[in-house]
């Protein structure tokens, strides 16, 4: 019997083979597209089956494979344990859904030869990152994943801004990999043993651990989208084709989180308590700023990308809590926080994929991503809008869907903070809990806007009036994901119990067994403190809503009537008079905008008697871009301008430079203690 890891490596090899096949066949017509996506769907599904049998059978015992590839003295090590099993489920489920969606969506692709070869490659890369068991393989797979996704971002490279998005993505990805490289270098220590097993066994000094944490926050955080390293994400994710956007947002950010968890929780050993503070702070900041950016956005896919940043922030808050509890030897609380983080990883991969699929469906049907040009799609695309609505409700953390459960678990973990001994944490955790609550509320507002402006009201352009429902593959993918959103919401105990091997291996404890609770309730700590029953909420909502509908239709009015919309007394209302996404976000912009975006509104009124229109101008700054990145760019420009003189020195000065540098090196050697 070959081990689990070996089977998965065969899956990766099959994906790479598909990529080669795609190069050969992608210039053909739709049949090539169908073939490639069917193959990736089949492979992902097969891998999921293997993983499912492993979860049912024995998820704990690690299964390892060492291949004689890569650097001769390291080789390539792969390992399948509880943590990687969980993340492989996320990766391959996302991959399967994206393939299913691609079966329909890919037919509208204008340049399939730029997408098809890289799609299986990207999936293979993500699988390899999660499987890797030594630093070299990890970094190689990581770069492989980055480059494959970069190629997908550049698929439509002639479109406006896509080249810039690709460039910024490439720069940030290289920077992140550099940080990871240094982190692994520190973990390997002077002995230079790059297998994860050796790193796990070696103990790091507090200073090294601090550097590793900082470098992982830079490396994995830039890929996951932590603020202020998120800058590439809202540019690159929307630039890719929609099913790839779904993969990048729903899955690739999770692979980055996997890297963070693997190093910080698994390889680094015991954390210091302040590391929790750092991660909590960054997570809270990311959550609130991410969703504020999303609220200001009127491009549907960019809004979703910014919302990804918010969700990554939520996950990092839970991870920070888990770190704080783990450092203070509170394993059950740490298990609760880690479960919340991992549960949110799973949930976000469900609903963010769903929402990107919905945005892709809208894009296919109307050719528009700008919400100000959409509207009224609920009558033209009823099924898509229903699935999108499910996604919106789930991501807004409303019961009975899955988003509520993971955020609720995160808040349960926040409520454990009074037991923490350090005052820094005691003060910090409730504050971050407040940020979390704020971001959850803003997320709800954001997705009311996303759904309302896009699908409700009246069409704003003629392209929308001609829109039709999308094909059945896309719908199947969306409804499968919507179904999983509901299932994970009403059966959270199943997921929590499924996560217990992971928390056991990482923090040495687990949440209480949930499936033993009556009526599918979940009880994170004790019945006396808190419990939640998604099924009950679902049944209550279903019954009361049906009852209300029945009562209204039975007693108030028998027939469905359509009347003209009331336009506040104006006789002739054009669609442009509707709420727009900017006007919907205006109150929130007024509250948070001045500090978060240096927003300013200017009203120009014509003088009395003039007939010109009054104008309202809103000025919004991307403060992070202007504070962090523009100065760096300017510094580089300045340096290159001035270093340019070095190209035109005299021979004697070149000699002098070499000579002086030699002297400096010798001096360093002479003065080194």
């Amino acid at each position: 019997m070959i081990s689990g890891a070996a089977v998965l490596l065969w899956g990766v090899a099959a994906l790479l083979g598909t990529a080669v096949l795609a190069i050969a066949s992608s210039h053909g017509s739709g049949s090539g597209t169908r073939l490639i996506y069917s193959l990736t769907l089949g492979i992902s599904a097969a891998v999921l089956l293997v993983l499912a049998s492993r979860i049912a059978d024995d998820p704990v015992t690690p299964s390892t494979v060492a291949l004689p590839l890569g650097l001769p003295w390291i080789g390539a090590h792969f390992r399948l344990d509880a943590l990687s099993t969980f993340f492989l489920v996320v990766v391959d489920f996302g991959g399967a859904m994206a393939s299913l969606y691609g079966l329909g969506y890919g037919r509208h692709e204008s340049a399939p030869h730029r997408v098809l070869p890289f799609f299986p490659t990207f999936l293979a890369g993500m699988n390899l990152v999660v499987l890797a068991d030594d630093a070299f393989t990890f970094l190689l797979s990581w770069e492989f994943m980055s480059l494959a996704s970069w190629a997908l971002v550049m698929a439509h490279h002639r479109e406006q801004d896509n080249a810039r998005a690709g460039y910024i993505y490439l720069v940030m990805a290289s920077f992140g990999t550099l940080a990871l490289l240094l982190a692994f270098g520190l973990l390997a220590g002077p002995s230079g043993n790059y297998t994860f097993e050796a790193m796990r066994a070696a103990a790091s000094t507090p200073l090294v651990a601090a550097f590793v944490l900082a470098l992982m926050l830079l490396g994995a955080g830039s890929k996951a989208g932590l603020i202020p390293l998120h800058i590439w994400l809202p540019l690159a994710h929307p630039a890719a084709p929609s099913h790839v956007s779904a993969l990048m947002s729903g899955v690739m950010t999770k692979v980055a989180i996997y890297g963070f968890i693997r190093v910080i929780f698994d390889l680094l050993g015991e954390p210091a308590w302040w590391s929790g503070v750092v991660v909590l702070f960054l997570g809270g900041l990311t959550a609130v700023l991410g969703i504020l950016y999303a609220l200001m956005e009127k491009d549907l896919k960019r809004l979703l990308a910014y919302s990804t940043i918010e969700n990554v922030g939520v996950i990092f808050v839970s991870l920070g809590l888990a770190l704080a509890f783990k450092a203070n030897a509170m394993p059950s609380a740490a298990a609760l926080a880690l479960t919340a983080a991992l549960f949110h990883v799973l949930n976000h991969s469900f609903f963010k994929s769903l929402l990107f699929f919905g945005a892709g469906a809208v894009l296919t049907a109307t050719g528009e991503r700008d919400m100000e040009k959409l509207g009224g799609l609920i009558h033209r695309m009823p099924l898509t809008s229903f699935a999108f609505l499910v996604g919106c409700v789930a991501i807004s953390a409303l019961p009975p869907f899955n988003g509520f459960v993971s955020e609720w678990l995160a808040f349960q973990a926040v409520l454990q903070s009074p037991d923490l001994p350090q005052w820094g944490l005691k003060v910090m955790v409730p504050a971050v809990g407040g940020l979390l609550a704020l971001s959850a509320a803003l997320a709800a507002a954001c997705f009311v806007k996303a759904f309302g402006i896009t699908f409700l009201g009246r069409p704003r352009t003629s392209a929308v009036e001609r829109a039709h429902e999308v094909d059945r593959y896309s719908l199947a993918a969306m409804f499968t994901l919507a179904g999983f959103c509901l299932l994970a919401g009403i059966l959270p105990g199943l997921v929590i119990d499924g996560l217990s091997p992971v928390t056991l291996s990482l923090v040495g404890s687990r949440m209480p067994v949930q499936m033993a609770q009556p009526w599918l309730s979940i009880v994170p700590i004790a019945e006396s403190r808190s419990s939640y029953n998604g099924l009950l909420v679902f049944l209550f909502i279903a019954v009361s809503a049906s009852f209300a509908a029945f009562v209204i239709h039975r007693f108030a009015s028998h027939a469905l009537r359509r009347g003209p919309a009331w336009g506040c007394g104006f006789p002739d209302v054009t669609p442009a008079a509707q709420y727009t996404s900017v006007s919907f976000a205006q109150p929130i912009r007024r509250v948070f905008g001045t500090f978060a975006f240096r927003a300013r509104e200017k009203v120009e009124l014509p003088a009395p008697g003039e007939t010109g229109p009054a104008r309202l101008t809103v000025e919004i700054h991307d403060v992070i871009w202007e504070t962090f990145y523009l100065p760096i760019g300017r510094a580089i420009d300045f340096a290159t301008d001035h270093l340019n003189h070095l190209q035109f020195l005299t021979i004697r000065r070149y000699l002098t430079l070499v000579f002086l540098f030699l002297i400096v090196l010798l001096l360093v050697l002479a003065l080194w203690p």
């Binding site: 005299t650 000699l655 001096l667």
Partner: protein, 220 residues
């Protein structure tokens, strides 16, 4: 190793450093070349002494190469070049003599401190030799950096190479092949640079490398 052999080796290597210093303050080309010839003679003596105390006969060949090529052929050739170029009356230093000497002293101190620190376990003779050799290399570089005339840069380069030979012979077991190849490459470099000098002269009517910079449109 008894005290006398060590002292003589030390004296010769130290003498080489001293001659390097002499090279630093020569502002006439003929004098510079004469000092370089002296440099090569001291090097030949030093290498010969090393051959005697290490009982390594191939080092006599190295000493002979140093004596014949560097002390006789190259200086004579350079004399001729200078005469044919008509620059024997030129006086040139880019940096004043005082600062150059001070910098030289600093470099020798640096190489002593460095070498004595990084080689505590080595044979004392090899240690001293390496320290002196590094000083000579740095002083040769300093000559190259502080001169404008291409001929004196060539001389600086060759005195630097003398330092390399000293380092190579100080350490036991350095095969002759290495030294021959180094010496040969220096000879080639000498020929190439000589040809270049005439080319430069033909084109610009001077061997001041500043003319090259002018030609490139740059000014100091």
């Amino acid at each position: 190793m008894n005290g006398l052999t060590f002292d003589i080796a030390h004296l010769l290597a130290g003498g080489l450093v001293l001659v390097s210093f002499m090279m630093l303050y020569q502002d006439r080309l003929f004098a510079l070349i004469n000092v370089f010839a002296l440099h090569a003679i001291v090097l030949a003596l030093s290498v010969a002494w090393q051959a005697y105390i290490q009982d390594a006969h191939h080092l006599y060949v190295t000493a002979a190469i140093a004596l014949i090529f560097k002390a006789i052929i190259i200086p004579v050739g350079l004399h001729r070049i200078i005469q044919r170029l008509g620059i024997h009356r030129d006086i040139e230093t880019a940096v004043g003599i005082g600062p150059t000497m001070l910098a030289g002293i600093g470099l020798v101190t640096l190489s002593m401190v460095l070498m004595l620190r990084v080689t505590p376990d080595a044979d004392p003779l090899a240690r001293e030799d390496l320290a002196f050799a590094l000083s000579i290399i740095l002083l040769g570089l300093l000559v190259m950096v502080t001169r404008r005339n291409a001929v004196s840069q060539v001389v600086g380069f060759m005195s630097l190479e003398n330092g390399l030979v000293l380092a190579a012979t100080g350490a036991k077991g350095m095969p002759l092949v290495v030294e021959i190849s180094v010496a040969f490459s220096i000879l080639i470099a000498f020929i190439v640079i000589g040809v270049f000098l005439f080319r430069i002269r033909e084109r610009f009517d001077t061997v001041d490398v500043g003319a090259l910079d002018d030609y490139r449109g740059e000014h100091r």
